[in-house]
């Protein structure tokens, strides 16, 4: 394994990535999370998958909706931090996009024949908690999975 970071940093930080806010970055994140599970092989497959699902949905949402069309790709950046503790998996995703005007308490699954619009609802269903805040000139999402298995 090429990673040299020891298991269980003092604060539980397992991954910190600075990424382009673009769909093409999703595979990189997926690969990096697979390496996290190698270091934390006590995390159950079910917990890994729902956490991964939610991280991918929020990253996809940022890539698709957080930027005005005139913002060029190199200026679209996000940071992903993942922490793993005995009790929970937490991801914080912050991006330099426009503020999100959204009330998460009103997000629902769309009609069954809808071809889009399920991302946030799926993230909410997979997670135990999802928070969004505007902090300075950045959006900040916090995703929490309480470990069950």
């Amino acid at each position: 394994m090429s990673e040299t970071r020891p298991d269980g940093d003092a604060d539980g930080t397992a991954l910190r990535l600075d990424l382009p806010a673009a769909p093409e970055a999703l595979d990189d994140v997926h690969d990096q999370l697979d390496l996290v599970w190698e270091r934390h092989d006590d995390v159950s497959v079910a917990d890994r998958f729902r956490f991964l699902t939610a991280v991918m949905e929020i990253l996809g949402n940022v890539a698709e909706h957080a930027y005005r069309p005139d913002v060029r790709a190199p200026q679209r950046r996000l940071e992903l931090v993942v922490t793993v503790t005995a009790d929970e998996l937490v991801a914080t995703i912050s991006d330099n996009g426009v503020p999100v005007s959204l009330d998460l308490s009103t997000v629902t699954m769309p009609d069954e024949d809808a071809e889009s619009g399920r991302g946030l609802a799926l993230a909410l269903a997979a997670l135990d908690d999802l928070d969004y805040e505007r902090s300075g000139d950045r959006n900040r999402w916090r995703l929490q999975c309480v470990r069950r298995d």
């Binding site: 699954m109 069954e112 071809e115 799926l122 269903a125």
Partner: protein, 110 residues
């Protein structure tokens, strides 16, 4: 990255996505399904046995293919999802609409 293999036998197209069906791969799947239907085959089985990940955009591509296939007089059915991919269908309540089949060969028998 994903590989999308397509084989057609006796009027039924079988699509095998190998890898992660994420936002980038979903665009490819949409195109593949559209090409199959435009090409005159409207009965499609998507074999998910080797699909290691599915997100909402991949789900959207499947639903788009299902609608197009039905409009063309056929149907789209899914087969053999892994337990992890199955949770995405369950969490989105799509397991009723895209009811998974246990077997590719008999997916259109009933």
């Amino acid at each position: 990255m994903i590989e999308l293999d397509v084989t057609t036998d006796r009027g039924i197209a079988v699509v095998v996505p190998r890898g992660r069906l994420n936002m980038v791969a979903a665009r490819q799947l949409r195109q593949v399904l559209a090409d199959i239907i435009t090409g005159g085959t409207s009965r499609i089985v998507v074999d998910l046995a080797e699909t290691t990940f599915l997100d909402s955009s991949g789900l959207g591509a499947l639903i788009g293919g299902l609608k197009s296939a039905r409009q063309a007089g056929g149907d789209l059915r899914i087969a053999r999802p892994t337990p992890e991919v199955m949770t995405v269908f369950t969490l989105t309540n799509m397991d009723k609409v895209l009811r998974p089949r246990d077997d590719v060969g008999s997916a259109f028998d009933v």
